[in-house]
Symmetry: C2
Subunit: 133 residues, 2 copies
């Protein structure tokens, strides 16, 4: 039935209404920060606690369902984990977009130069989006 509930259970998390709402918001917005998560949550669950948001976000991170995206000069946002991608941040409207572009070459090049065994990449590019130009 509820596919969101299934997703939570696959990650060993009880499918509570609050958690389902969080996942739905992440699915809908792609990226969302704690503040927005909380204020949107309040609309549907007027007595939700901020501690619930934090606790759930942390559990979802631990379970590998979501990840935190730290953005220079701005608040962190959270997103469902999916295939590797990079983040475009618009310096005018603040919009964040995912771009699936081959980062393989940078990683390969960096691997060669540094001798590191690279496991994860976090790439954020800041600029002005087409709508704001």
């Amino acid at each position: 039935m509820h596919e969101t509930a299934e997703l939570l259970k696959e990650h060993q998390l009880k499918a509570t209404p609050q958690r389902i709402k969080i996942v739905r918001m992440l699915e809908e917005h792609g990226h969302i920060n704690i503040e927005d998560l909380y204020s949107q949550m309040l609309e549907e669950f007027p007595s939700v606690s901020l501690a619930t948001i934090y606790k759930n976000i942390n559990q979802m991170i631990e379970s590998g369902l979501i990840q935190e995206v730290k953005i220079p000069k701005t608040k962190s946002v959270f997103e469902l984990i999916k295939e590797p991608h990079l983040h475009m941040v618009c310096d005018k409207c603040g919009k964040i977009e995912d771009i699936c572009v081959g980062t393989d070459r940078v990683i390969e090049e960096a691997q060669k130069l540094s001798g590191y065994d690279i496991k994860e990449s976090f790439i954020t590019l800041r600029g002005t989006c087409p709508d704001c130009r």
Copy 2:
């Protein structure tokens, strides 16, 4: 004389002993977080205030002398601004290294795909360094 003092003055910042020490630490370590900055500062200036660290770091960021590097799953570090580069973070020892590798192609590719006018890039790669393998 003091080249560090000159650097501060070029950025319209009074060359106080505390600021000189901060810049020296950044030059020496490359990357350093608030906590380490504070504890090392205490050795030389036993009565330094944490507020002084924060205020100076913020002023140095505003003046374009340094920048904050936000790292997934870890505390932010600060570094002197220099030519574009990427950050390698070792998941074993926590060491952070700069790599000057051509990120131009990712940026170009992303620019083409997204239509953004890209101004800055923040690239962090996580993996295991040669020493920890």
